[in-house]
């Protein structure tokens, strides 16, 4: 008896959520000085799904969303892709520490990842622009991303339960 997984259209919602985050994140809010420190919604999405349901946000989708984000932002191309794929790798190796724990534990884990991304992106950007980048905006952005994580995490918990587990169908 071979079991195959039936593809459920709800599964595509996670990738669409990522796309929405990238596109909505580009919309100008008319707040001075906000764009450089705007929270990294895509990082939150990649982190959450890489821990709880990595198969719903596959690496190629992360790669494409990151490239789109870089193209819109105008920063170093490919940098988000490198960082977010590394985040996925780290999450996949550490997911046992988070699955089944409270969201608070996940939040602490996310804080470490967000700080790691900021710390790692600084030398990358400095090499790219051949100058020492002022890390101030980078750290404020990381802090804002961590603070606002629950705002997106709670709806994602609901989304995860709504998508439900895979339906196994006998063929």
């Amino acid at each position: 008896m071979v079991q195959s997984r039936k593809y459920h259209p709800r599964r595509a919602l996670v990738s669409l959520l990522g796309l929405a985050a990238v596109l909505l994140g580009a919309v100008p809010l008319g707040i001075e000085g906000f764009a450089p420190v705007a929270p990294d919604w895509l990082l939150m999405i990649v982190f959450y799904w890489s821990i709880y349901r990595p198969e719903l946000l596959p690496a190629p989708v992360i790669f494409l969303l990151a490239l789109l984000s870089d193209a819109i932002g105008g920063g170093p191309p490919g940098m988000s892709a490198i960082l977010l794929l590394l985040v996925r790798l780290a999450c996949l190796s550490q997911r046992r520490a988070f699955v089944g724990k409270s969201l608070l534990v996940t939040w602490f884990g996310f804080a470490a990842v967000a700080l790691g991304v900021a710390v790692f992106s600084w030398p990358l950007a400095s090499v790219y622009y051949e100058t020492l980048i002022d890390p101030h905006a980078l750290l404020v952005r990381a802090a804002l991303t961590v603070v606002l994580f629950p705002l997106l995490a709670w709806p994602m918990v609901a989304l995860q339960s709504w998508i439900g587990v895979d339906v196994a169908v006998e063929t």
Binding site: P28, A59, P76, G78, L85
Partner: protein, 308 residues
Amino acid sequence: MALGPRTGGRISRLAVPLKAWLHRFAFILLMIGAAVIFAAGKADILLVERARIAIVDAVSPVIDVLSRPVAAVSETVRNIKSLSDLYAENARLREENRRLLHWQQLARKLDQENARFRRLLAVRPEPRTTYITGRVFADKGGPFVRTLLVNAGARDGVSEGFAAVTEDGLIGMVAEVGERVSRILLITDLNARIPVVIEGSRQRAILAGDNSPQPVLAFLAQRAQIAPGDRVVTSGDGGVLPPGWPVGIVASLHEGVARVQPFADWNRLEYVTLLRYRMPPMVPLPQEDDGAEKGSAAMKADKKARKP
């Protein structure tokens, strides 16, 4: 038929590790892909730049639609805020109007005088500047760049190097042009270099962005007479930007570093005007193809100039 279950078992025994291996292989390929794109971007490969703006071109209608309700909300919020200080605003405008009427008279007089002098001296007329106005539909810059995306591109006649201004003054330059979008490098960006002149003393300098809200005046003469409050305008050197556009005022002088506070009101950057300005070269330049390349060449020259 008898082989059925056994074959199935063998396939699944092989398929699971094969699938894991393929996943790992795909992941490594993606990592390499990302690194190659990063390196290609660093090497200033034209293909990367073109691909980047083409992607933005493709998704721009979606972001444009998304940005409209947000713009409407922030406009309403601004209106409600301004309602509260209507009385003070009115008084301020009355005062300003009185001052401006005085300036208008003076400007008319000076305009006539100027025209007379120009005729007397047979001054060659300035090249005509034409305008293209676009709506700012995205400002996702991130921590490393200060850019905006405007919904006017090559099909509207925009090309690289155009100055981007608002009613307050210069905000940046067109750095990338797509079919219907263009990317504006703001004067505060790390890579922005704008030739400017201090209005009173006519001291020339390069306004160099460093991602902070107040760009620095670089290459200022050692004994330059400047003070906080001096107006800074574009000098028009290099022939890319029109001269005389207001940029900002000298905000601070600290240990020989002068910083400029731009006039631009970053809170209400909804529409941006792109200036088409082409200065006829005094000496024909060899290997000059078109305006777009001239713009990017000027920016690259600026980029090189800042390296010691």
